[in-house]
């Protein structure tokens, strides 16, 4: 995780958590205050409903008393009731009285409960409701909720009982006001409070007023009914939703602001570090001039100064190492020059030793021998001359050209033939294979390998075989019957400055490997202690139409 991401992820909780706690606290406080307010309003609404029911009861009592007085003064009605006659007039009495008194229902019941006259349901005469009067009489204040029958849908009234006495008979006079949605709405103190019949009294903020209840159309439906004062929780929920909305909006705003601030701050902090990282990444041993100077006094400034000091130290150390490397390179060059010169001088020394021996033992043959070995001396001198030119050119490689490998091997065999104990064998492929190489480099390769082979022979006696081979690649092999090398000795010999010979420089194989590599070839070694060594150099072969011509031109180096 980047420094910027860490800073942003740490910044957000630091901003959001306090805001969430604050919002939760505000919401809880609002809910508690609103809940208490609703409870108080419910209590007030219940008081209002009780007062309204009591007022309705008193109003009903007045109206029924007026109806009773009118009925008592209606002689035709009295006569009809007393004589059980004039049924039509009796039937219409309640309707007229109900309309005059403004009631929603009015019934005149015989002592046995039979409906004699019904204002709200004229044609229900004869229907017997035996429990209606007794139920109302037993109710507190003689008032109850009655679901009365009508020709159409039954409806609920808040009913009260009065009685009309004619002779020795008492007739129940039951009047009611309609408890419809309008009455219930007017029973609520305000629009946010509702009054329902048998609503959910367990709801939050609800209050209940229980009244006796009777369903006139159903004798079994007797009991109690509840007027429930409820209130809509919509205002409270709206406020809570508003708080929630604002809290979410605040959280989002804080999160976005915090994120932007964190990114800006992280950028301010990480930009110098990124700059230091880029400058440090550009350092290497060849380029140690990067500047870390700064005026900052903070942690970044101190880090920059430390890096500057480190760079200075590194620059000094690199200069020391460079000088040491230069000295080592000069030493290597000197040893290589020494080695190459020795390789060039050895045939000359052998020829002169031969000439000295012939001059002492067979002076007459000297001219002949001189003539025989003069070429070797000239060849070695030419070699040394070329070597000198090579070193003069130092690392500038000579152009490659087709070389006759068999001729090069034959020249090397000639140069080896001065040693008495050494048997040189040539095993050459025909036709002679050509390789593309620097002729001097090819001779140095073969001479180094031949010198190594001769010097590895035990007591200077043994066989050195020079072979050429052609196939997919052109190969030359130098095989000796010498002491051989262990794998460790071979590794050290290839690394340079290691020789199994008392006077060896240890550079022969190193030079060979470099020259072979320059010619595009490969060097393979097969050796083991006491079993001699076999060095194989593979060159890429020459192909194409100019093959024969170049082979003829390359034959000149086989001297």
């Amino acid at each position: 995780m980047t420094f910027r991401a860490r800073l942003a992820s740490a910044f957000l909780p630091a901003v959001l958590i306090p805001l969430v706690v604050f919002g939760w606290g505000v919401r809880r406080a609002v809910g508690t205050r609103l809940g208490a307010l609703f409870e108080r309003r419910a209590d007030a609404a219940l008081v209002h409903l009780r007062a309204r029911v009591a007022g309705a009861s008193a109003d009903l009592a007045r109206r029924l008393a007026a109806v009773r007085r009118a009925a008592a003064g209606d002689l035709r009605l009295r006569a009809a009731l007393a004589g059980d006659s004039d049924a039509g007039y009796v039937r219409d009495f309640a309707g007229t009285a109900m309309r005059v008194s403004g009631l929603a229902s009015l019934q005149l019941l015989a002592p046995d409960g039979a409906v004699l006259s019904s204002g709200h349901f004229r044609n229900s005469y004869g229907w017997v409701e035996p429990r209606l009067a007794s139920h109302l009489r037993a109710a507190p204040d003689s008032i109850a909720l009655i679901r009365v029958r009508s020709a159409e849908m039954p409806f609920v009234t808040l009913a009260r009982l009065d009685s009309l006495r004619v002779g020795d008979r008492s007739y129940a006079l039951i009047g009611g006001i309609g408890v419809d949605s309008e009455w219930l709405a007017r029973s609520a103190p305000d629009q946010d409070v509702t009054v329902t019949i048998d609503g959910d009294s367990t709801a939050a903020g609800a209050r209940a007023l229980t009244l006796p209840f009777l369903a006139s159309e159903d004798a079994d439906a007797t009991g109690r009914a509840t007027l429930v004062v409820g209130q809509s929780l919509a205002p409270q929920e709206a406020i809570e939703r508003s708080v929630d909305r604002w809290m979410v909006l605040g959280l989002l705003t804080a999160a976005l602001t915090g994120l932007a601030l964190a990114l800006w701050l992280a950028g301010r902090l990480s930009r110098p570090l990124a700059d230091l990282t880029a400058r440090a990444a550009s350092l290497d041993l060849e380029r140690l001039d990067t500047a870390f100077e700064t005026d900052r006094q903070d942690e970044v400034g101190r880090l920059s100064k430390v890096l500057g000091v480190m760079t200075t130290r590194l620059r000094e150390g690199a200069e020391v190492a460079r000088r040491a490397e230069r000295r080592a390179a000069l030493g290597d060059l000197a040893r290589q020059v020494n080695h190459d010169i020795r390789n060039g001088l050895t045939p000359i020394r052998n020829v002169f030793r031969h000439w000295r021996d012939v001059a002492g033992a067979q002076p007459t043959e000297l001219a002949t021998v001189f003539a025989e070995r003069q070429g070797t001396v000239e060849s070695s001198i030419a070699y040394l001359d070329a070597l000198a030119s090579e070193y003069a050119r130092l690392a500038v490689p000579a152009p490659a050209e087709p070389c006759d490998l068999n001729a090069a091997l034959q020249g090397a065999a000639t140069r080896l033939s001065g040693d008495d104990g050494v048997t040189v064998r040539l095993d050459l492929a025909e036709p002679a294979p050509l390789v593309r190489a620097d002729p001097l480099a090819l001779r140095r390769v073969i001479d180094n390998l031949a010198a190594n082979a001769r010097e590895s022979l035990v007591d200077g006696h043994g066989t050195v075989t020079l072979r050429s081979e052609r196939g997919e690649r052109v190969c030359l092999q130098v095989i000796d019957t010498g002491v051989g090398m262990s794998p460790a000795e071979l590794e050290r010999a290839l690394a340079g400055f290691h020789s199994t010979k008392p006077r060896g420089s240890g550079l022969g194989l190193t030079i060979v490997r470099r020259l072979v590599g320059d010619a595009g070839g490969a060097l393979r070694v097969d050796t083991a202690p006491g079993r001699g060594s076999s060095f194989t150099v593979e060159f890429p072969g020459l192909e194409g139409p100019g093959h024969a011509e170049t082979r003829e031109k390359g034959g000149g180096d086989g001297r």
């Binding site: 035709r76 006569a79 006659s85 004039d86 049924a87 039509g88 007039y89 349901f121 004229r122 044609n123 229900s124 005469y125 004869g126 229907w127 029958r149 009508s150 020709a151 159409e152 849908m153 039954p154 159309e217």
Partner: protein
């Protein structure tokens, strides 16, 4: 005192009924109607002759409307249209055939042959031709028109043995459309004007001075107010008003025929105390007669929900009958009545979208003649009565007992 008035009312009603004692049956099937009225044998409501009137003021129970003419839908229209419109032949209260637009009629093979009066004229003076009669029938009664042919300009042939009865129906009146879409132009000796919302309908003679003009005016809600005003004639079906009229020596009560029967169409036959229903309504009613008729079609829509007895809104008699069916428990517990607007009520009658429906039907239509999706149980029959000032007597009684006000005595 009130009891005394009621008793006097009852006695008066009996006395008036006695004036019309008649044993002859009326025309048409009356399977659901109660026993027919007993009109006087000579179809004359007798009384001491009064002075000739130049005008007669009638207080009606329902408006006399040009939209209905010439087929009456109320007692007032029955009286008014009987004066203003003619059929080929007419009948008196006993069903005896009298000349109308046709001066002669005779059997003609399987039908009847009617010869038009040569002096028959429309109100606009145009002569009445056989083609005019057929055109009127085609417009109003296509089945009758299909049975009729013209045999020259003055002769009409109508097939069928019942042709003589059919042409006496109000729907067979000879009329032609008015240019102003007002009252259809009839052929009688009286023509009718007015009848709009701001003018009373007036039946007056086409020849000036030939007969008194008769004004049909709307009364108040309580017909008794009309009896106490200066009305010459009050047409009403209100039982209380008729009882009150019986207490007034000035008036004679002439009942019209039982015109309407209220039928309950329900999924099952309903056992109901018809006399109890008669007591429940405020109109002059009598228990209907005859058994229930079974369904002859299936319901288009089966109702769901509670059992409801539907009636047409604005029909107080149907409302009272429905209320009594509910109040007496005749249609079971839990049922209730519902008033429907005319379109909904018509759909309920035709398709059976309500559990049961109350339908007023013409009394002369046998219940089996009407297709129903349920059992049609006749409940009560109702009628209007004409309360006339006795100074208008004597009066001839036309078809259905409709008095011919202002006719020469």
């Amino acid at each position: 005192m009130l009891m005394m008035n009621d008793r006097r009312s009852l006695l008066a009603t009996i006395l008036v009924a006695g004036l019309f004692a008649c044993a002859k049956s009326t025309v048409g099937g009356r399977a659901a109607a109660p026993a027919p009225n007993k009109f006087p044998a000579d179809c004359v409501a007798a009384g001491p002759p009064g002075a000739r009137r130049d005008s007669i003021r009638v207080i009606e129970d329902a408006p006399v409307s040009s939209q209905d003419a010439p087929v009456p839908r109320s007692g007032a229209e029955r009286v008014a249209f009987a004066l203003a419109y003619e059929t080929l032949v007419s009948s008196d209260c006993q069903g005896s055939v009298r000349p109308g637009v046709a001066q002669a009629w005779s059997r003609d093979g399987g039908g009847w042959r009617f010869v038009l009066r040569e002096d028959a004229r429309f109100w606009d003076g145009a002569p009445v031709l056989a083609a005019d009669v057929l055109a009127a029938w085609r417009q109003r009664d296509s089945s009758l028109a299909a049975r009729a042919t013209a045999d020259g300009p003055g002769v009409i042939l109508v097939t069928g043995d019942d042709a003589l009865d059919v042409v006496t129906q109000a729907s067979a009146a000879v009329t032609k459309p008015a240019p102003d879409r007002g009252w259809p132009i009839g052929t009688g000796s009286r023509w009718i004007t007015g009848g709009s919302s701001d003018a009373d309908a007036v039946v007056q003679p086409t020849a000036p001075g030939a007969a008194p003009g008769i004004t049909f005016a709307r009364g108040t809600e309580d017909a008794r107010d009309a009896l106490e005003s200066h009305a010459d004639v009050v047409i009403t079906d209100d039982r209380a008003a008729l009882a009150y009229a019986g207490t007034r020596p000035r008036f004679a009560v002439l009942p019209l025929e039982w015109s309407t029967v209220y039928v309950l169409v329900a999924p099952d036959q309903v056992s109901v105390d018809r006399k109890d229903l008669v007591a429940a309504v405020r109109v002059d009613a009598a228990p209907a007669e005859g058994p229930a008729c079974g369904p002859n079609m299936s319901r288009a829509a089966r109702p769901s929900g509670p059992r409801r007895v539907a009636y047409r809104q604005g029909d107080p008699t149907a409302e009272a009958v429905a209320a009594r069916l509910i109040g007496s428990g005749a249609v079971g517990r839990g049922a209730f009545a519902v008033a429907l607007r005319t379109a909904d009520w018509t759909r309920a009658v035709e398709q059976g979208t309500e559990w049961a429906v109350l339908v007023p039907r013409p009394a002369h239509a046998a219940c089996s003649a009407t297709s129903t999706w349920g059992w049609a149980t006749p409940l009560i029959a109702v009628r209007s009565s004409v309360v006339v000032d006795r100074s208008l007597l004597p009066l001839r009684l036309g078809p259905g007992g409709a008095p011919r006000l202002g006719d020469p005595r």
